[in-house]
Symmetry: C2
Subunit: 286 residues, 2 copies
């Protein structure tokens, strides 16, 4: 048997509401923490980011295990090579910021960044529901809507690092409405809450979810008609509480899929839950 030294990696999923961090041993989460995301100024943000991961250094010392690096998952448009946030819709103070620099004087560990949906999908493929799939599309339905695609044993990044924007799909050209905007309007900026209400039987909430299911079913069909993946793996806060709304998506979707064979696609919920993004960020460090 091969003898390998055990090591840890740190992953942080930096969301518009919370920052979730995991200490990861390559197979499972050793410890995890959560903090509300500071959005007031950059200095506060970087102090809290470091405060979130600092206990991991102590834990690693206790365990006598080396930490190899830190992966950060971020919502929005990033420049992965430059480790820079181009445009953060939920945390505007990060716009244009070189994220790795925020931890520069605090740690010498290598830092990698990636889009949060890429992190989610990577985690689900490597350790979650997607293990047996070679061609999987990932969708996060949370505050916004993000997309990612796993093909040829890696995240597909496109020619300009600019893939994964299903939220920008126009679903009503007459009124120039994008999927994500329509979704946010219907969800009244609290989609998880709406899903809960719908699930408990609230008629108005159910009606909103019917409409959201309609929009999302269409978006899924557009993705399938172009990419024809084996599976779509759905994550994000909304996916946690919404069987109801899954069946609506599936029904709508099937009506718009062109090729009969493509209707065989599976729609699955991720199984790593709220830590998926942070685990996928930790997996950036190899």
């Amino acid at each position: 048997m091969e003898k390998m030294e055990k090591s840890y990696t740190i992953g942080v999923d930096i969301g518009g509401t919370n920052m979730k961090a995991v200490l990861f041993d390559g197979e499972k989460v050793v410890t995890d923490y959560l903090l509300a995301t500071p959005k007031d100024n950059l200095n506060h943000f970087s102090i809290m980011l470091y405060a979130l991961i600092e206990p991991f250094f102590k834990k690693a010392k206790e365990d006598k295990v080396k930490i190899k690096g830190i992966g950060l998952g971020l919502a929005g448009l990033i420049d992965q090579g430059e480790k820079k946030m181009i445009k953060s819709p939920n945390i505007p103070i990060l716009d244009g910021v070189k994220i790795a620099n925020l931890l520069k004087n605090k740690t010498d560990l290598p830092i990698e960044i990636d889009n949060d949906t890429n992190c989610f999908l990577r985690a689900e493929i490597k350790l979650g529901i997607g293990k047996k799939y070679k061609n999987a599309y990932g969708i996060i339905i949370g505050t916004g809507i993000g997309g990612a695609w796993w093909i040829n044993d890696k995240i597909y990044r496109g020619s300009h690092g600019a893939t994964g924007e299903p939220g920008r799909m126009i679903i009503d050209l007459e009124n120039d409405i994008e999927l994500e905007k329509a979704y946010q309007k219907l969800a009244q900026n609290n989609p998880a809450n709406l899903a809960e209400e719908a699930f408990r039987g609230d008629t108005l909430a159910q009606k909103s979810y019917e409409e959201i299911g309609h929009y999302l079913g269409l978006a899924f069909a557009n993705i399938i008609n172009l990419l024809d993946p084996e599976v779509i793996i759905v994550g994000g806060s909304v996916a946690q509480s919404s069987e109801l709304f899954f069946s609506k998506i599936k029904k709508m979707m099937r009506g718009y899929i062109m090729h009969p064979e493509a209707k065989k696609i599976k729609i699955l919920k991720g199984k790593l839950g709220q830590n998926a993004g942070a685990i996928g960020a930790a997996l950036l460090i190899s």
Copy 2:
């Protein structure tokens, strides 16, 4: 220098209006023919298909060059492995037909089939405007709207052989209108003619093309936001006569592209013209 025996291949692009056939020497077209597509019955169709390519056998004999096989490009849903047409929107007599069988008692040559947009894109990549690109999306705008994607040195076929259906994109969910249907309605089933009229200054035709440009710009942006190719190569009868309408597409498209880097995408017209599909079909035989 390597010495290779010269050989020919035959390619036929079977469209809803015409069938175009080329005798191809691996680099250029030796001879080409065109016939109106018979749509009355299958017997007539197969007689005419054979009549179209028969002169090539004579020509090859004269040139003392062997023909290696026949490639057929078809619009609609095909099963490439079974060499079967699943659903032909423009030539309904072909629905469910094993296309290779139509030439069975007439020739022993190997026969391969593919989608017509795949053939168009393959030809433009190998011999046309797309030579230097590694990640190219192809769109045919003709009677209908077809799509194809070239990545990793081949046509991307998806998990169920079911990619390339941008025509099914919903652009007006309220009224359940698909891109292709809206396009066909505006083009009044004669898009090439409409393009000509618009090009000559007809105000009504120009207005229709503005709308078509709007729809197509949106479809292009959806493709770019998901796939982020280096280039979109446009072909089909409409692309032949429409600088006008290209600029409208580009303008619309840029408004919907999310990532600033992805706006660098090039939109190019194919340069092989009407024979692109037939050449791409001939390239199926290696």
